[in-house]
């Protein structure tokens, strides 16, 4: 770690069978290589879904921005992430009258999806955009007083060749580093359907 990071970034990574993954494995490797951010592999920490709530809450408190990185399973999160949300974002801590632990924190979803971006729209097979399908997560964060950033989405994973995957991983690493250094243009980002739709607009060219 070179200097004190401006934003303390925590990557919450979830993939139940990483050893068979092509895209997520490279994204995860790229994230782990970014200096000054924390990387937390949920399936490695809780293979039997026995989430340590106190430890997770401590981690959340100790960071400013969370990146929820996972493959987009059935338009949603892998099972362990749901378990994690149900247990960790407890009433009276994350939400409710006295639940203010996460107020002001930010969340970025970093997803990989098999379908192309064209498949995720009104006219496509999936009928909704990824952003629309993430409504439950967005609303969860809303209730916790957090800001939900537009998701970082790698589309069409089944058709990507190695070079394309590497380039997606590189973009991901640059986004993470920019978030850490608080030099990502959030105003511009909020207008994008997904964060990696136009990196130039975010000042990451």
């Amino acid at each position: 770690m070179s200097a004190q990071p401006r934003q303390r970034v925590l990557v919450l990574f979830a993939h139940p069978s990483l050893h068979r993954s092509r895209v997520q494995r490279r994204l995860a490797r790229a994230a782990q290589a970014v200096d000054g951010i924390s990387f937390h592999d949920l399936y490695e920490a809780y293979p039997d879904f026995d989430v340590d709530v106190a430890r997770e809450q401590e981690l959340l408190v100790a960071h400013d921005l969370y990146v929820l990185q996972h493959p987009f399973y059935w338009y949603s999160v892998p099972a362990l992430v749901k378990q994690w949300i149900d247990l960790v974002l407890a009433h009276g801590w994350a939400y409710g009258r006295n639940g203010t632990a996460l107020v002001g924190k930010r969340l970025l979803c970093a997803l990989s999806a098999g379908g192309s971006e064209a498949a995720y729209c009104d006219e496509g097979d999936n009928r909704y955009t990824v952003r629309q399908l993430l409504a439950p997560i967005e609303q969860t964060m809303q209730l916790c007083g957090m800001e939900f950033l537009p998701p970082f989405v790698v589309h069409g994973t089944h058709g990507l060749d190695t070079a394309q995957i590497d380039s997606a991983a590189d973009e991901y690493a640059r986004v993470l580093a920019a978030l850490r250094d608080d030099r990502l243009d959030l105003e511009a980002a909020r207008r994008l359907p997904r964060l990696n739709a136009d990196l130039d607009a975010l000042g990451l060219a």
């Binding site: 069978s17 050893h19 068979r20 895209v23 490695e44 293979p47 098999g114 994973t157 089944h158 058709g159």
Partner: protein
């Protein structure tokens, strides 16, 4: 004996052992009886392959008993010995004195001996055979039972009692000593010339030497040997230790077996214990074999045939009297009926010390040689009969008595009724119990180990002493209203008995039982358990999962693999239950099911990976959607 003769003897003995023991075991007679029969077969009475040197072999082979006691000592921590002190002094002391008194009276009456020789006969015959009893009980896995531990305590006392007997016997002489030869086990050399306090001092010094040397000198000694890196030297050192102790004890007139036992106990806590065990074990085994064969060969069948009726009467009288005294002691010490029967039958014979002491008595003019010979034959026959008696107990008496280890103390009164009854609060049961209580489920704990129950109570855990295989106890524990009985008792037989009782008398009670092996689990199902848990299954799989993770497997797939393994293994296990009565079908099916399990797992793991990854990058998805431009 020339080399040729030696090899021939070795050939005869080994052949006898190799042929007879597998047959004896096949017939369910146990190896000890096999050796005795083999000995009788090659002895002068039958084939005549070994002659009078059988007696010499016997004396030599007695060293096997010495080694056996060394090994037993190694397995016995001093605390365990301390725990046995009541049995050792109380039961052992009373056994020797009581039996000696009754037998002396009998000898005076039946053999027409004067009180002095009669007392000598009584004393010598009160001893039992350490070799036969311990070997037989160990073979049947009964050494750790109540009867086994008590028998061991009594035998140990007898070994100690030999020493004063050697002192007392010459004082009982009424005849002119035949020869002033001191027999095996008696003091000779310089100690014999000492008297009174000096001799006692020498004895104590020898014991102190063994304890101190064992504590302080033996570990550096063995470390030095071990550092040489030559395996044989360590073995030689171990033998040297045993032989050395035996010589020392012999020189001060103590029983060598007792001395090596003591040496073993002192070394029980040392790091070389297992090495010593494995080094001495083969020697002990061979010498004991030799010993049993020699006992068989030394049976003087001509004498027995000539006075068949008298000798048979004496043997039966000896067994009956010893049994009666032992049984009375067992009652006084509140042993359960079946344990007491085992204990009393096991120790009812005469012992190998009898051979030594009777010839010693004859040499010292206590007994006339004819009587001594006759009594030696009686002792040998009673020893040969012991395996039969134990077999009788195992086959005829034990099954009729039902449960093992009937309580010596009355079961505790139970003043609570809970939804769960937990029988057995050992390593397994205690975890189940703590887990239930931690979750607010009131549990009635029963255990058959009274010491353990007392300990639990001191720790503030409410447990009740009692045998859960007894209907009254289960009823008192509230079995009629309870929902669940969890059986986590120690022995398979005990578990089966508890399940049977529960199912027979309390049909509404669900019975969950712990099995220690796959096969035991089948027995528990057959006895009526609703659910059976194999004790090691989950721990083994957890270890396996950690091993996979240490080798770099990701955590969650390793966890899932264990779940799949357990599911498949459990299924295969239950399927095999149906065919287990037919050993041929069972073996074929068992092999088959292991193969299927492996294949399933390999396939399952693969398939499951595909499924796990179905939203990600799996093969089938890529095959279908992998062309660029597709949705």
């Amino acid at each position: 004996m020339d080399a040729q003769g030696f090899f021939f003897q070795a050939f005869v003995y080994l052949t006898a052992a190799v042929l007879s023991v597998p047959i004896a075991r096949r017939l369910g007679l146990g190896s000890v009886l096999g050796y005795l029969i083999a000995g009788a077969a090659i002895g002068p009475a039958a084939l005549g392959l070994v002659g009078s040197e059988g007696q010499d072999v016997l004396h030599f082979a007695e060293f096997g008993v010495v080694m056996m006691l060394f090994l037993i000592g190694l397995e016995l921590e001093p605390e365990q010995l301390w725990r046995l002190r009541g049995v050792l002094l109380g039961m052992g002391g009373l056994q020797v004195l009581g039996t000696a008194a009754v037998l002396a009276g009998g000898a005076a009456g039946a053999l027409g001996l004067g009180w002095k020789p009669a007392l000598a006969v009584g004393l010598v015959l009160s001893l039992s055979s350490t070799a036969i009893v311990l070997q037989s009980l160990r073979e049947k896995g009964l050494l750790r039972s109540d009867a086994g531990e008590r028998a061991f305590g009594v035998l140990l006392f007898q070994d100690i009692a030999v020493i004063p007997m050697l002192v007392v016997l010459p004082l009982l002489a009424t005849l002119v000593p035949a020869a002033a030869v001191l027999a095996h086990g008696a003091a000779d050399g310089w100690v014999a010339e000492l008297t009174g306090w000096d001799r006692a001092g020498a004895t104590l010094a020898a014991i102190a030497a063994i304890v101190l040397a064992g504590r302080f000198a033996m570990r550096p000694f063995f470390r030095f040997l071990a550092r040489s890196g030559v395996r044989e030297v360590f073995t030689a050192g171990a033998l040297l230790l045993v032989v050395g102790i035996a010589l020392l004890m012999h020189s001060v007139g103590l029983s060598p077996a007792l001395g090596t036992f003591l040496g073993g106990v002192v070394l029980a806590g040392s790091e070389y214990r297992h090495q010593l065990e494995s080094d001495i074990e083969p020697f002990k085994g061979l010498l004991l074999v030799l010993f049993f064969i020699a006992v068989g060969a030394s049976l003087d069948f001509r004498l027995v045939a000539a006075e068949a009726r008298a000798i048979a009467g004496l043997v039966l009288a000896l067994l009956a009297i010893k049994f009666a005294v032992l049984f009375a002691l067992g009652r006084a010490w509140r042993m359960g009926l079946d344990q007491n029967l085992l204990f009393s039958l096991a120790l009812a014979q005469g012992g190998e010390f009898g051979f030594v002491l009777f010839s010693f008595a004859a040499q010292n003019g206590v007994l006339d040689p004819d009587t001594a010979n006759r009594l030696v034959a009686v002792v040998a026959l009673s020893m040969a009969g012991t395996p039969f008696l134990l077999l009788l107990h195992e086959r005829l008496l034990q099954p009729r008595l039902g449960t093992r280890g009937r309580p010596a103390r009355a079961p505790d009164a139970i003043d609570e009724q809970n939804p769960v009854i937990l029988a057995g609060f050992g390593a397994f049961g205690s975890i189940v119990g703590r887990f239930l209580v931690a979750n607010g489920v009131a549990t009635t704990v029963l255990d058959v180990d009274s010491d353990h129950v007392d300990l639990l109570r001191r720790l503030g855990i409410r447990a009740y002493y009692g045998d859960a295989s007894r209907e009254e106890l289960l009823r008192a524990a509230g079995a009629e209203r309870a929902r669940l009985l969890i059986v986590a008792t120690g022995s398979a037989d005990g578990t089966i008995a508890v399940i049977r009782t529960a199912r027979k008398h309390f049909p509404g009670l669900a019975v969950y039982a712990r099995a220690r092996s796959r096969l035991e689990g089948y027995d528990l199902f057959e006895a009526g358990a609703h659910r059976v848990y194999r004790g090691q299954l989950d721990t083994s799989l957890r270890t396996g999962v950690d091993a996979l993770r240490a080798l770099g497997f990701p955590a969650h797939p390793a966890h899932r693999a264990a779940q799949a393994f357990r599911r498949l293994d459990e299924r295969a296990w239950l399927e095999l239950a149906a065919v287990r009565k037919d050993p041929n079908v069972f073996q074929t099916r068992a092999r088959e099911s292991i193969r299927v399990l492996e294949e399933l797992l390999r396939g399952e793991f693969h398939e499951r990976e595909e499924r796990d990854d179905s939203a990600g990058d799996s093969g089938s998805l890529r095959a279908e959607y992998g062309k660029p431009g597709e949705p």
